[in-house]
Amino acid sequence: MIKIDAISKWYGPTQVLKDCSAEVAKGEVVVVCGPSGSGKSTLIKCVNGLEPFQKGHISVDGISVGDPNTDLPKLRARIGMVFQHFELFPHLSVTRNLTLPQIKVLHRDAEAAADNAMRLLDRVGLRVHADKFPGQLSGGQQQRVAIARALAMDPIAMLFDEPTSALDPEMIQEVLDVMVALAKDGMTMIVVTHEMGFARKVAHRVVFMDKGEIVEDAPTADFFDKPRSDRAQLFLSKILQH
């Protein structure tokens, strides 16, 4: 469903992505991990065109992301994205956060959008907070709202950009629970995360990145049991020793 083909990206003279290729099939959950500054977030943002890239080709459901003739807003509406810092709209109530994009982008009528919003808030366990503002919720609750907001657009795939990195430890689990449920439902997901427990539990494959390169792309069990590259071994030894 998502095809990343030999992507390269530069910020000025610095190359941040080097010839990255990966594929994600429908219903597949792929975890992207690696040391900070390795280009994981940049890569995932290229998938919905939030970050432009200079070389290579990405297609989502057969539609080219880099093609100037592509209707990017229309394509993005079909790909959900969850950010590290939630990025809920602080001037809108929780419900309005979920309904506004449906109304403005998908042109749903207000009632249908509200019904859908309530259904999804129920799903992430936050229906009681529907009328609050994002600033009145905890970080974990905000991130669950953000997931519900993305799901309200009926996406064909979901991108998660370090969804738990900005959370207090006791709130990480509630967000991961929602993501696990989503994965079990068969959602196509690319997840940039350091949560190796989550990766082991639901990921079909793990992509390991370092210095802008995809160093390893392996089935989850293989990645954790016998990582081939030295860099992945070093990374895992540092992150798993606790």
Binding site: R76, M81, P90, L100
Partner: protein
């Protein structure tokens, strides 16, 4: 001590001062603020567009407006507008614009430069992630600006925008240079006619003070009420 003063003159001229003078002052303030914010926001979007074709003219406009004395602008526009109007409408004679229209255009264009800088700061105060999130949901740039970024920018900047409006309210008195009767102008006319300079100018000062103070109190109050919960 007040034996030589006649404060009754204020009472007698109240209808004239307020019906004619204050109406003009408030109307000019309100309309110029509205127009200034609309044009200023457009200028701010131009300055932030990142396209030289848009940023350069907007920056040049703002810098020009901020480098010319306001009184000069009022004067210059008043005498030039009829000819600009003539050129635009291609009529044979200079266009009659009228003092109010002339003032309104001058104030709007002048204030737009200031509101532009306020809105630019306001838009920049909203994290880039908000725009990214809006776009990731499939919103186009205009939708994201209109429903996500600008509403937040307005709220963040509301106190500064209103403070600028209070300054504009006081600046309307500069229309005296083209002999338009605003509140101060009306007071001044009565003062000259009746020889009651101290009484009338003191009264005018008190009125400006009360209105400006009340407005800035409202700003402070509003600031607490519309702040976004974070």
């Amino acid at each position: 001590m007040f034996a030589n003063y006649d404060f009754d003159v204020i009472w007698r001229s109240l209808p004239y001062l307020f019906y004619q003078g204050m109406t003009f002052t408030l109307l000019l303030t309100a309309l110029a603020t509205l127009g200034g914010i609309v044009i200023g926001t457009l200028l701010a979007l131009m300055r932030l567009s990142g396209t030289a074709m848009l940023t350069l003219p907007a920056a040049a406009y703002v810098n020009l407006m901020r480098s010319v004395p306001f009184v000069l602008m009022i004067f210059w526009f008043y005498f030039l507008m009829p000819y600009i109007g003539q050129w635009i409408t291609r009529s044979a004679q200079p266009l009659q614009v009228g003092a109010f229209a002339s003032c309104l255009v001058t104030f709007t264009l002048f204030e737009a430069a200031f509101f532009c800088e306020i809105m630019r700061a306001g838009i920049q105060s909203i994290s880039r992630g908000q725009m990214a999130a809006a776009q990731a949901l499939g919103m186009t740039y205009p939708t994201a600006m209109g429903f996500i970024v600008l509403p937040q920018a307005f709220r963040n900047m509301a106190p500064v925008l209103l403070t600028q409006t209070i300054i504009l309210f006081q600046d309307t008195s500069l229309v005296y240079v083209i002999s338009v009767t605003d509140f101060l102008g009306a007071a001044s006319k009565v003062a000259e006619r009746d020889g009651r300079l101290v009484e009338m100018y003191t009264f005018a000062a008190v009125v400006y003070f009360i209105i400006s103070l009340a407005a800035s109190r409202t700003v402070a109050h509003l600031q607490r009420r519309i702040a976004i919960i974070r």
